[in-house]
Symmetry: C2
Subunit: 468 residues, 2 copies
């Protein structure tokens, strides 16, 4: 029988848990120790030195000999009005697990996070979920060591499921990629490994503002956690922003003060999907135009988007200690911004319906402002009318501002600046038709399901939570 669910309350308590002033210092000592203990080497190599990867004779896709993992193929997009373009794309049909194990210590939920190296990370180690594994990974296609703690996410030893939902990833770089975002609670003794550490949510949130520390996979799983409205007493010295922020977590069901009902929001989103008339399709890599392949890279001719490169990795705390793989290397740092405004005493976040050609359902809800798209993708996405609020704003209104990395297992040095910016009457309640104001409770209700929030919006949702 389904017991009354107090998960949201327990995560809320974990997020408000006081921690010793020393605990963050302890974390950093552990982190410094992990950095010293690991041996990580990532070296550029020409494609010819990739081991197990080759360009398929039929079509030129860059594939793995197992037929698994992922491949670099091509995507063709026929945009509205006859425009069209093509680009390389990461095609990974299989669904992996991004899982965080949680456990109560002294009555407070803690998350088991991992110091994990990925070849594309700008700084080797980042704070990662307990488990991040493709299906090929955990079915051991590469013949590596066992994945630690995986048994708590699958099979008979599995813990209690608190979150388990398929979510999309970058629709500009990946073809219909989905991962399973899981949070599993365990109660028994869990063996501790030196690369892993139990942290209450309050500490994880504090670490979010450290540059390039909490990785993309941890951010997206954290975004799927249920939370409830924190008690008003938790607000910092009666800050009106925080009080309005807390009210934004109040459960909806018609009584809450939100600009739109959830029905209206789903209707708006339905309309946005209906209007989208471009089509995208997979093509082979040799059909992609305006990219040129050399011995070392498949590079965009205009040097304005990204290139595909290859790396050799040596790591001593990973399941396989040496491997080679391709990576997608964007040319520029991205920007993803949530504009947050008090409306009727409640913080609302400005969401934009964002078409991305690699998304399964083509349109998801994304940040208020987002930069990174190259010229070609921009023709699908359109202009960013709220960009000025992200750059020219009064510093006191910048509530969150940190550069963080995208998935280092697929992307090379892909960084995004994440900002949460408070706005006032200068951004009107009436929006262009492809934007909509949502409360945090509404966003959290939608993120319980797939196909709603883009990966960047989910990262930003975690950033907003960290403002408590």
């Amino acid at each position: 029988m389904n017991a009354p669910d107090n998960t949201a309350r327990r995560f809320t308590e974990s997020a408000l848990a006081e921690h010793q002033p020393s605990s963050i210092a302890d974390f950093h000592s552990w982190w410094a120790e992990r950095l010293r203990a690991g041996v990580f080497e990532v070296a550029p190599i020409p494609f010819a030195e990739l081991n197990g990867w080759y360009f398929a004779p039929d079509g030129g896709n860059l594939v793995h000999k197992s037929g698994r993992f992922f491949e670099i193929g091509g995507m063709h997009v026929a945009a509205d009005g006859g425009e069209s373009w093509s680009q390389p794309i990461i095609n990974q049909p299989e669904i992996g697990i991004l899982g965080i194990l949680v456990k109560e210590f002294d009555g407070v939920l803690h998350c088991l996070l991992q110091a994990k190296m990925e070849p594309g990370n700008i700084n080797t180690l980042q704070l990662s979920p307990t488990v991040q594994a493709t299906r090929s990974n955990y079915t051991r296609v590469h013949g590596g060591n066992e994945i630690r703690y995986l048994e708590y996410f699958r099979g008979p030893k599995r813990g209690r499921i608190l979150v388990d939902v398929l979510q999309s990833e970058q629709g500009m770089w990946c073809w219909r990629k989905h991962n399973r975002n899981m949070v599993v609670e365990v109660t028994g003794d869990i063996p501790e490994h030196e690369d892993f550490r139990w942290l209450p949510l309050s500490q994880v949130w504090r670490l979010l503002s450290v540059e390039n520390l909490v990785n993309m996979n941890a951010r997206t799983v954290l975004a799927c956690l249920p939370l409830q409205r924190p008690p008003a007493s938790a607000a910092t010295a009666g800050s009106s922003f925080h009080e309005a922020l807390y009210r934004s977590y109040e459960k909806g069901d018609g009584e809450s003060r939100s600009l739109h009902s959830l029905t209206e929001i789903v209707s708006w989103f339905t309309e946005m999907k209906t209007r989208n008339e471009w089509r995208s399709s997979l093509i082979t890599l040799d059909k992609v135009t305006r990219f040129s392949r050399t011995a070392d890279a498949i590079a965009d001719d205009d040097r304005n988007g990204f290139q595909i490169i290859a790396r050799r990795v040596r790591a001593e705390n990973r399941e396989v200690t040496e491997w080679t793989q391709p990576l997608l290397a964007p040319r520029r740092q991205g920007l993803a911004v949530f504009l947050a405004r008090e409306i009727m005493g409640v913080i609302h976040v400005l969401i934009r319906a964002r078409p991305e050609p690699g998304l399964l359902d083509r349109v998801e809800m994304g940040p208020s402002v987002q930069l990174a798209p190259t010229g070609a993708v921009a023709s699908v996405v359109g202009p960013e009318p709220f960009y000025e609020y992200a750059v020219g704003t009064d510093a006191s209104r910048v509530r969150f501002d940190a550069v963080m990395s995208e998935e280092g297992g697929r992307f090379h040095h892909a960084q995004t600046r994440y900002q949460v910016i408070e706005v006032g009457d200068d951004v009107p309640v009436e929006t262009p038709e492809n934007y909509c104001w949502l409360t945090l409770d509404q966003i959290m209700e939608l993120v319980r399901h797939g196909h709603y929030l883009t990966i960047e919006a989910r990262s930003l949702l975690t950033c907003v939570h960290s403002l408590w």
Copy 2:
């Protein structure tokens, strides 16, 4: 500002509204009158007599000269374990509107339904939504008359949106087809047309059990309506089945008695999607094997699935009075069954995770038992272990049993027998891993979003509602 939402209460009242004994008789008089008034002729023609449709020289797809509406192409499915097959498929990328207009009369919500002819209907007229129109239809690609009442669903005259969600259609016959399921409330004067009639929900539900009357589009939109737990006093003479059924509509949020939480259900569904390893893709019609094209049909060689045929239509109450089009004609009647069981005093419905190769997200939640798949599709779907409960059951346990039609605008004489069958301890609470017991409130919570319930499951949901 978002007003408190009493839509579920108002539809519940409409479903419980008493109606005069004469009102159903009145309905049937009107219906008989509509049948007499219309002139409908549907005649078989060879493909060569299709007007505006032709087989594309490049690939052989059967397409419309406008490039719009839909086309008959091919689908290739590579199933798990190396099996694969191909078949013709209806490819209609554009999203249409299936919309029901509602309005209060004497304080009771009424639905505006239409007596509408479709060329594939076995009986010409069926009871249809206020509006059912593809985008090509309502942007007038075929140059027909205006679509009645469309202005209440789009543009400045639009009414208040009560439901607006994208839902899938048959994933065995259509490629990623979605339609917008809308319910819109209006308050002002609405001109009445003789083909349309306002009905309270209680009457619509009563009409559901009439063979081939309420069409598929009406059923799916009705399935998306919000409802709440009816008062116990509404239960028929203290029937314990009805009391348990009513409790199944109780809002969840942890306090209700359901076998699983919504989190567990979404987790189960996520697991089912993860396991699915076949791939489907569009191919051209001339690449499809085991189907043969003659002057009149593209027919399955084994006579066990369906064929593509052509029809000429003459209708005098439609926006265009004469046209030709292809249709998909299944060989057999389908069967779709919900097994309903009291668990902890609450009716639960047995849902099966159903892979269908034409579905965008590949797997949705479908009936407990479903027949129609040909041998090839059955290799993806697998056996139907609960089939015996659908056929050999005690008549007193058959709560709903009616043959209804699938979409007559695309399918020719496609009928499905819909059954809701009460079961007891003979169907255990423990299920095979691809099944799950859900309460009606949980199913209704999921149907607020796309990608969850198949079209057959949505039809059955409406059938269950009609048992009130």
